[in-house]
Amino acid sequence: MKGKLKNAIESVGLPRIIIFLFLVLLFILTPFVGVRFDTSLNDVIIRFGMNGILVLSLFPMVKSGCGLNFGLQLGIIAGLLGSVISIEMELIGLTGFFVALGIAILFAVIFGFLYGLLLNKVKGEEMVVATYVGFSSVSVMCIMWLILPFKNPNIIWPYGGTGLRTTISNQGYWFHVLTDFFRINIGNYISFPTGTILFFAFLTFLVWAFFRTKIGASITAVGSNIDYAKSCGINTDRMRTISVMLSTIIAAIGIIVFEEGFGFIQLYLSPLYMPFPAIAALLIGGASVGKASIKNVIIGTFLFQGILTMTPSVLNSIIQSEMSEVIRIIVSNGMIVYALTRIERIRLR
């Protein structure tokens, strides 16, 4: 009995159990601090659907041994380009949404390919280089958003007539097209975003299936042991590039789904820190720099978004102050630090 319990704890992982128990505690506390339980639960589900794909996008690169994608911004930028171009074209509803996806994927393929070439040149230092690729690409785009020839008055600065606004609303275009797809309302406070969750599930299935194919297996082999893969005659650089492109494409899709639920497209500096919550979520889910599974993606997104939603609302009610942003930063960066120290220990062993 004792052994079984120990095995169960080990297989789920102690950190996850602690975070889960903390999350349960927060939910139990809700009625006592004047926060509605059902609204909170609904918030967690909605945020889970919005962020899941961004977390999923990290998965292929971990599998191929490129580490955590600290250059997630590149994919996000592709997604932003897709979104603003679709709105520029005045496309509305699902058409607008899918055109945005299509354009975003196109950009993501190009960005991902170049990014992949770069990462193949810096094997072993991918994460450090990726961080700076991400940061600098955001800065380059700060210039591009200003000089790209967009004309739609809804998205450019009202004065001067050139350059995109920092925040663009997608309401009236494709806001909530997924979320409202077969939306299920239970009572006044719960409204299940069926479309978003289905879309996330569909993409997750695609990624899972991809890694069950021969090419996916090759990528896994490259990630587990690059020398082994070479000796099997696998073109390791090509496999790594494919995984980087895949990560970038999924990130591009992920940000569009995020915007779809959020209602706004945020340009300029806002993608700068986007990789960190996604990475933290994956790590909370039990993944490490060299190892990840679909299970880690789903559990991690749920726990991380749960904590992010619940901690501020519950704590704010208790101590009567606005701390949500601070707590969010502490949790997400703390998780990354924890995970990065964990790898060192494994390597030294």
Binding site: K214, S224, N225, S231, G233, I234
Partner: protein
């Protein structure tokens, strides 16, 4: 009796040492007089390094449970737990691979951590550690050490700019610069040197010995040993096989003791003499750039259905041959398989031809340690032959057929008797012997016509060794598969091969039938080239 005891500088008596239950030293007794040069010879794994590690207080010894026996140095019983204690007591070691700081000059390297220093104001506050280096005094001491060796070494030269020989001289100068040094251990000091440089080193050794410092000299070059040693101690399988006096012996006799006479009788697993007709593999002038296993132009032919052995001492290049042909390390030259030229540096091409490789680097190159057994067995075959995949969507997607992999793996787990909980267990969790069988299974699944197997029994226990060799032999018998085995253990090669090539200094020293006198292999390994090549 008492006076005789004092005559010895070092007495190592009845030393025993186990590594995880493997006995590597068995009742070794080694006596060294002051000013004497002792030659220590033995095959790889005979126990030379372990014996020296015990003497110099290598931490590995303590971490693995210490040793049994007594060591008496200058009349006192000693047991060092760190190399520093050994150095302080006066036992120095000159390593085979140079331990020098590349950006430092000869002087700085020689006096490293023993620099004469000058007092200054800061040392008043922070202590001796902030004393200034006394450059002049350093220069003087270094030059004295160099002069003692009677060599022409510029004390200002940076270590990274020195030719190999000079690096070796610097190492030696560093050791003799210590006032307290009474015993020096030279671990193959001439292995990487040209002949002229090696001769200088030998002269230096003599000079050092003449000043009263004792020397333990480890070398595989028997001529050198015969030339400068006062006494020769031959180790085999962890025990002292024989003590010889150079003037009363020759290299053949030493080789015999090293290899062991008993090898001559019946260790071969089969006795019939087999005849082969077709040449399956032809290697012409192959060069391989593999660190520490450089191959410098080897040529040989292997017949179809044969078990061909490649032997030789560590670092002589025997491992480079298989790694080069399979494209793991950069190679040049001409390799023909069944008359067709093999593209070198292209593993995929070689695998496609029906050649498989079981690497010596089992955990590094041979296995996906964090993946299940069935994946490990099936993966190469899936990559090379598209087996265990199903085409979906008109061939657009190649879906991995896990069930087919598992079914096939069960067959191999049974036939090779791989001990595991299930085919889903991770490769990491298996023992060394079972991991090796996994590597063999991986190669067998490819149904190859030629298998390269490198160090098949390295790091696995005795029982598993026999199983692995039997498996290879059986596979060869049943399917007529040609097998090329590279191994450091001559016995193993003799036991199952038809012919054995011995590699020395990156070249083939000779190819002999496995039934030849083992001493001949020993001589080939030790660099006595013979012209005899069996057709």
């Amino acid at each position: 009796m008492k006076s005789k005891e004092e005559n010895y500088l070092l007495k190592m008596e009845h030393v025993n040492k186990d590594f995880y239950g493997n006995r590597v030293l068995n009742d070794v007794t080694l006596l060294v007089k002051p000013g004497e040069i002792i030659g220590l010879v033995g095959e790889n794994g005979a126990g030379k390094s372990t014996l020296m590690n015990i003497l110099t207080g290598d931490p590995v010894i303590h971490e693995t449970g210490g040793f049994e026996g007594r060591i008496i140095f200058e009349g006192k019983e000693i047991s060092f737990s760190s190399p520093f204690e050994a150095i302080n007591a006066g036992i120095g070691m000159v390593h085979q691979e140079f331990i020098l700081l590349p950006e430092f000059t000869a002087t700085e390297n020689i006096l490293l951590n023993r620099e004469p220093t000058k007092y200054n104001v800061l040392s008043e506050i922070f202590g001796d550690r902030l004393n200034l280096l006394d450059r002049k005094e350093m220069e003087k001491r270094a030059t004295t050490a160099i002069k003692k060796l009677e060599i022409n070494l510029n004390s200002e030269m940076l270590a990274k700019e020195m030719p190999v020989g000079y690096k070796q001289f610097t190492e030696i100068a560093r050791e003799i610069n210590r006032e307290s040094t009474k015993l020096l251990i030279f671990d193959e000091p001439t292995a990487v040197l040209a002949e002229s440089e090696a001769n200088i080193v030998l002269k230096i050794l003599r000079k050092i010995a003449n000043t009263g410092i004792s020397i333990i000299f480890i070398s595989h070059r028997l001529q050198e040993i015969l030339e400068i040693c006062d006494r020769i101690v031959v180790l085999k399988d962890g025990s002292v096989q024989k003590e010889l006096i150079p003037s009363m012996t020759n290299s053949t006799e030493i080789a015999e003791y090293m290899i062991g006479r008993e090898l001559k009788k019946g260790i071969r697993k089969f006795t019939e003499k087999r005849e082969f007709n077709n040449t399956i593999l032809e290697v012409n002038n192959l060069w391989v750039d593999m660190i520490a296993e450089q191959v410098n132009g080897v040529s040989f032919k292997v017949k179809e259905g044969e078990i061909f052995g490649i032997g030789g001492l560590t670092g002589q290049g025997k491992l480079g041959i298989a790694n080069g042909i399979l494209g793991i390390y950069p190679a040049e030259g001409e390799v023909k398989f069944k008359g067709k030229i093999i593209n070198l540096n292209n593993p995929k091409f070689v695998l496609d031809q029906g050649i498989a490789f079981v690497s010596e680097d089992r955990r590094g190159l041979g296995l996906l340690l964090d993946q299940p057994i069935f994946w490990n067995i099936a993966f190469t075959s899936m990559q090379v032959k598209d087996s265990f995949t199903r085409s979906l969507l008109g061939g657009l997607v190649k879906w991995c057929d896990n069930n087919a992999m598992i079914k096939m793996s069960r067959e191999y787990i049974d036939s090779l008797r791989i001990k595991c909980e299930s085919e889903k267990q991770l490769a990491r969790e298996l023992s060394g012997g079972n991991q090796q069988k996994l590597c063999l299974a991986k190669a067998f699944v490819l149904k190859p016509e030629l298998i390269f197997v490198s160090e098949p029994t390295r790091g696995i226990d005795v029982g598993a060794k026999d199983l692995v060799l039997d498996t290879l032999r059986h596979y060869n018998n049943q399917y007529g598969t040609t097998i090329i085995i590279t191994s450091s253990e001559l016995e193993e090669l003799i036991s199952i091969c038809d012919r054995i090539a011995i590699v020395d200094e990156g070249q083939i020293a000779g190819i002999l039938p496995a039934t030849s006198d083992p001493v001949e292999f020993g001589l080939l390994m030790l660099g006595k080239k013979t012209e005899r090549v069996v057709k």
